[in-house]
Amino acid sequence: MTLIPLQHYLIVAAALFCIGLAIAITKRHFIGILLGIELMLNAVNINLVAFSRYDPERLSGQLFALFVIVVAAAEVTIALAIILRVYGYYQTVDPDEVDELKK
């Protein structure tokens, strides 16, 4: 069985992370920013899983990735609820236009 070198996993994860960062910066939409953040969290999980290959007895990396997935799910639900409230109040999803705490 040929083993894919660790560096290749790290390079793929770095590419996904940087694309996610660029998405989160450029999109002028709350949900577009969330898409970028999800992509970044996935890239981090690839790193954890790739390093966990060398730890078959305890699998610390995979467990950590599992907790990252749980936190990501909680984060997305709360973020969507907040986005819906902000949209109901300001009628916009552009982060640049939401610049006051109270209208």
């Binding site: 590419a15 694309i19 660029a22 002028r28 898409l35 992509l39 639900t77």
Partner: protein, 172 residues
Amino acid sequence: MEVAAFYGFSLLAIIAALFILFSKNLIYGAFALFLAFLGVAALYVLAGADFLGVTQIMIYVGGILVLLIFGIMLTQKKKNDDPQHHNRVEILLSRGIWGSLLGAGFFVLLIKIVATANFKMTGDTISSKSTIKTIGVELMTSHLLPFEIAAILLLVALVGAAYLAMNRNPAP
């Protein structure tokens, strides 16, 4: 075979991510994110994490992506009824330049770190047996406290999201 699958799924994930970056329609971006998540799940399986691959598909594709698409559809702009402009995201030129500059610069930095780092891996690599038993035993023994905290966190997130999204009168 395994090598071809690895590079194929890596390319799938990266091309899908680039499509999200360059597409102007957010719904298309959400569906491209679906492809990227599938590619990442395949990478998990190729790295020996079968349970995490299935979890990735169930939680991200089945839960988070559906929530995101709901969010996109519930926040349509009411002003323009032009069907060509639904879910359109305008990107400022300066923002695009800054974003691509920061992303490319950070990528070069990370590649440099990965290339110069000298990982000395001790211990044997993962074998082809299933990881479910190890994960279950570890969750119930040495990772019991984080497991319970995750349960509380999910409960709090559920209650908080339901409370925030309730249709309250906006004018108090």
